[in-house]
């Protein structure tokens, strides 16, 4: 029995349906990350779980108890808001203990709890300050402290790191990961950041326009995207999605990639997914991540299925640890990820290895995965 269950959740504002039937579940101690483009309903979903928005239909269960009609304060949740939402008139200590005060916790117990949380988050020296006297990262930690001090059943985080600079964001991300690992709390977390999603989550839900496009572990989402949207959304640099045709004779199949003013590339397939045979002679979308498109020496050794083809390199972008090369296939710029010391020049042809074990195919009409 899952700890957090969302069944057929719908939410409309007036005439507009914002959440169109969400089904999710999360085990106890799990870390669910919600990702999706701006305006797809992530915050709305989080608010309905918190009880800050009513729902139109469906059901939300926390710890095997329907909470649909329960007031936010009765759901035993703690929430960290995107804007932190610290009370400007109270000190840091006042902010952290306000929830306990409202619940009638005696003053000495409150003090003990504040001290404990302040130590974990290293904000002991800030306790008597007002939020306006804190830096962004300090405010962030206070906002976390306000949630942590409560020890609730469920934590809700709405883009808690989005206002921080890159360095602080990495630090806080590790802090959150450590927190989750040590306390084993259950967390629902909204983010725009790919890396946050991949590193923190035990489960990811990719959302678009109020619908869950795919729900699974980070590895499933990354390696087995359900459709073009998920493939394109997750991963940075994004997956190459190349218009292609399926060719080949008899039982053998091949991916044919058109090129401007050059011979098409033909990559023979031996491990094609079953559904692909229906697409013989038809167009498909061929998806290959940049790290599965490399120089032959850098190709994954134990990959069973690698095809090599000469490609014309148009742009070379050295990025420190890797070198990215752009070639043109199927009328699109395609990014390959090479070793940092790969010796290639723009304007020349060089052999590139396609790791076809990692390649995926989509139906151009429905944009769904061909399996």
């Amino acid at each position: 029995m899952a700890f957090l269950e969302i069944n057929g959740l719908r939410k409309r504002f007036g005439q507009v349906e914002i959440l169109k039937g969400i089904d999710l579940e999360l085990e106890k101690g799990g870390f669910l990350v919600l990702v999706g483009p701006s305006g797809c309903g992530k915050s709305t979903l989080l608010n309905t779980i918190a009880g800050l928005e009513t729902i139109t239909s469906g059901e939300i269960r926390i710890d095997d108890r329907a909470v649909n009609d329960l007031h936010p304060s009765k759901r035993d949740i703690a929430m960290v808001f995107q804007s932190y939402a610290l009370y400007p008139n109270m000190t840091v200590a006042g902010n952290i203990s306000f929830g306990m005060e409202m619940r009638g916790v005696p003053a000495d117990e409150r003090q003990k709890a504040i001290d404990k949380v302040a130590k974990v988050l290293q904000i002991g020296h800030l306790l008597q300050r007002k939020p306006s006297q804190l830096s962004g990262g300090q405010r962030q930690r206070v906002a976390m402290g306000r949630a942590l001090v409560r020890d609730p059943k469920l934590f809700l985080f709405d883009e808690p790191l989005s206002n921080l600079d890159a360095k602080l964001r990495v630090d806080m991300r590790i802090e959150i990961k450590r927190l989750h690992a040590t306390t084993g709390t259950t967390i629902v977390y909204v983010t725009h950041d790919q890396i946050e999603a991949m590193t923190l989550a035990t489960k990811i839900a990719v959302m678009r326009d109020g619908e869950v496009q795919q729900f699974g572990t980070p590895a499933e989402i990354y390696n087995n995207p359900a459709n073009v949207f998920v493939a394109d959304f997750m991963g940075s640099p994004a997956m190459n999605l190349i218009p292609a045709t399926i060719g080949g004779d008899g039982s053998g199949m091949a991916v044919v990639l058109d090129r401007e003013a050059r011979q098409p590339i033909t990559l023979p397939m031996t491990n094609a997914p079953a559904g692909l045979s229906a697409f013989k002679g038809k167009p498909v979308i061929f998806g290959v991540r940049p790290e599965a498109l490399t120089d032959p020496e850098g190709a994954e050794r134990n990959a069973s299925h690698i095809a090599t083809a000469d490609c014309h390199i148009e742009v070379v972008e050295p990025a420190g640890s890797d070198t990215f090369a752009v070639t043109n296939l199927g009328g699109k710029g395609v990014v390959a990820r090479l070793r940092a010391d790969a010796n290639i020049q723009p304007g020349t042809s060089t052999p590139l290895a396609f790791n076809l074990t990692k390649a995926v195919f989509f139906d151009p009409a429905t944009e769904n995965r061909i399996r």
Partner: protein, 314 residues
């Protein structure tokens, strides 16, 4: 309609033109300031002169032998209508009426603003529109209906007095005025607070809800402590309006012991027994004006700041 590009005027005379402009602008400003300050100046100097000096001297000259007597007389001895006990009683009447009226109307405005922005219900916009409308109702059109209502409240008070033993203040002129000013002021105070709370981050309210705070706890612990600027603006606005009100005061408490300061001042000036004591009249007028001046001086800084804050935040 097309917007015309404003012609760019070349500054030909350079520095000279600038100086001339400055002189003209500051000259005009000084003139206006003088124009506004003149009556105050005359009032102030006259209130410190003896009657002799007033009758024989120049209106604008400073008092030769400044005396505090007119002020003392205005406060404690001058005749208001037929009673000659000064204006002090009426001054306290005004205070007793203004303070509750200001506090009640301000608190109700804050509560309305809070509900209209953070607990939006069906038809909230309509309710707010109607309240806005209340700001535009002319005083005069309220006079007679309000008199009728106050009359019925008074009769209710009398029957309560007879049956229960207390009228709960119904029918008391001071209570009546408080009631009238609260009702009339709610439109304005709601407008002020609604606009301020519109820009107030809703996430704070949500956070407090998750923290388990109730409707009134959120109002008292989160909203009010963060409303200082608009609170001061509203208090100043209400205080000035209610203290200076003459129409309602003379209509509903125009006679007897409970008349407020403004009505009493009018009666002082109109009491025509023998010579007109200009110095006493001026002193009484100054005393009547002091509380509003005081409120401006004490809270004026916030007034400007509050208006600005509202303007920027929208």
């Amino acid at each position: 309609m097309s917007t015309m590009a404003a012609p760019v005027r070349q500054v030909s005379g350079g520095v000279n033109v600038k100086i001339v402009n400055r002189v003209v602008i500051y000259g005009l400003l000084a003139l206006f300031a003088l124009f506004y300050l003149m009556p105050l100046f005359v009032m102030l100097v006259t209130s410190f002169k003896t009657m002799n000096e007033i009758q024989n001297g120049n209106m604008l000259s400073l008092p030769k032998a400044p005396t505090f007597d007119p002020w003392l007389k205005a406060w404690g001895e001058t005749c208001v209508g037929l009673t000659c006990a000064g204006i002090k009683g009426y001054f306290w009447n005004s205070i007793k009426m203004v303070v509750p009226a200001v506090l009640i109307s301000t608190m109700l405005g804050a509560l309305n603003g809070y509900v209209l922005t953070k607990w939006r219900f069906r038809g909230a916009t309509l309710v707010f529109g109607l309240m806005l409308f209340a700001c535009f109702i002319p005083f005069q059109s309220v006079l007679l209906p309000m008199a009728t209502i106050l009359g019925s409240l008074g009769r209710l008070g009398v029957s309560l007095q007879n049956s229960v033993g207390t009228s709960f203040g119904l029918g008391n002129p001071t209570v009546n005025l408080v009631f009238v000013h609260v009702v009339y002021g709610i439109g304005f105070t709601t407008l002020f607070f609604r606009n301020y709370y519109e820009a107030f981050p809703t996430e704070l309210v949500k956070a407090a809800q998750v923290d388990g705070a109730s409707f009134f706890q959120i109002f008292r612990r989160i909203m009010l402590p963060n409303s200082m600027p608009i609170f001061v603006v509203t208090v100043i606005y209400q205080f000035t309006n209610i203290w200076n009100d003459f129409l309602f005061a003379s209509a509903y408490a125009g006679t007897g012991d409970s008349m407020p300061m403004t009505v009493a001042l009018n009666n002082v000036v109109n009491t025509s027994t023998g010579v007109v004591e200009y110095n006493v009249n001026m002193a009484a007028a100054m005393i009547a004006a002091l509380p509003t001046l005081l409120v401006y001086v004490l809270a004026g800084r916030y007034f400007v700041r509050g208006l600005m804050a509202g303007a920027v935040k929208g």
